[in-house]
Amino acid sequence: MRQLDIFIAFFRSGMLGYGGGPSAIPLVKKEVVDTYKWMDDDEFGDLLAIANTLPGPIATKLAGYIGYRVGGILGLGTALFAAVIPTVFLMVLLLTTLTQFKDQPWVMGMTKAVVPVVGVMLAVMTWDFFKKSTSGLGWTSAIILLIISLGLMEFAHIHPAVIIIVLMAAAWIPLKRKGKKGESAEHKQKRESV
């Protein structure tokens, strides 16, 4: 019943994780390492580090790879299906229902009230990314990058995709200077990512 196990593992970690994929990582680990013992702690840690070298949603990268390793191509499909489809289904159901009543004053009130709350959630995420930027780059470089990217996006109207691609390329330009500062930032990051 390998496929069923895969389904249950990723269904559970998907349905219990709030705040997007990254917050579900410990739940995935619990299923994969503790419950089903498909991997040990170290292997999972390695996989997470490798998955983080690639862009894209983390929950589906983990589900896809682990599903593939445990149950082949079919396992990959099962894991992704379990991680994604139930919540997409709920989302479509809830939003289409709400849209049907969107002219009702109480539904309009609901929408109005929820906007500032999501604003707060975004502001908290902003702060999170800001803090991670300063711990990864140091205050000075982080602030300089923040100001430059704000200027380019808001005032020069350059698409963020362009800026991101340029920065990704810039990361591979070799720098001669190698200090201890970079190392300690790395360690900090490692702790955060687990």
Binding site: T53, G56, T87, V92, W106, K112, M153
Partner: protein, 176 residues
């Protein structure tokens, strides 16, 4: 061709998002609101709100819904495919090669360089949400909802789903 547009929108916004799905949120907004005009800012914020009230990965919830809304079940499948498949395939195929880079300082630098950009994008989005709320509900309701939800989420550590449901109930009663 709506299917190709859906594919491109979600491919681009997810392949540029470092740090998991939430990092892609502002990039998705850029595509679906600014570029393709499938949703207004308001509709996008409603969707994000409902998405945050539900469990599971956020990038796929948005892709699945927007795809469905624009082009039915097939649209939903295509948007999800564009969101998930590129990174999963790369991971499965390149795992051995990527293993060598997992501790590479250049990979860390890449993440470090991109974070400030994502921070700015998220910050601008938050600002937009607050301004929208100020326009729709006025300064006092906005301030009240911001303060109350901040307190509940960050200080009292109430589960986000409950906070959203609370806001929905409050809105249905007091902002109707």
């Amino acid at each position: 061709m709506i299917y190709i547009q859906l594919f491109m929108a979600f491919f681009v916004s997810n392949i540029l998002g470092y740090g998991g799905g939430p990092a892609s949120i502002p990039l998705i907004q850029k595509e679906v609101v600014d570029h393709y005009h499938w949703l207004t800012v308001k509709e996008f914020s409603e969707m994000l709100a409902i998405g945050n009230a539900l469990p599971g990965p956020i990038a796929t919830k948005m892709a699945g819904f927007i795809g469905y809304q624009q082009a039915g079940i097939l649209g939903s499948v295509i948007a999800l495919f564009a969101t998930i498949a590129p990174s999963v395939l790369l991971l499965v195929i390149l795992l051995r090669i990527l293993f060598k880079y997992k501790d590479s300082p250049n990979v860390k630098k890449m993440t470090n360089y991109i974070r400030p950009v994502i921070a700015i994008l998220l910050g601008l989005m938050a600002y937009e949400f607050f301004m929208n709320s100020y326009g729709d509900s006025g300064i006092w309701q906005t301030l009240f909802l911001v303060a109350a939800s901040f307190l509940l989420l960050e200080k009292l550590r109430v589960h986000p789903a409950f906070v959203i449901v609370g806001a929905l109930v409050y809105g249905a009663v007091f902002l109707a």
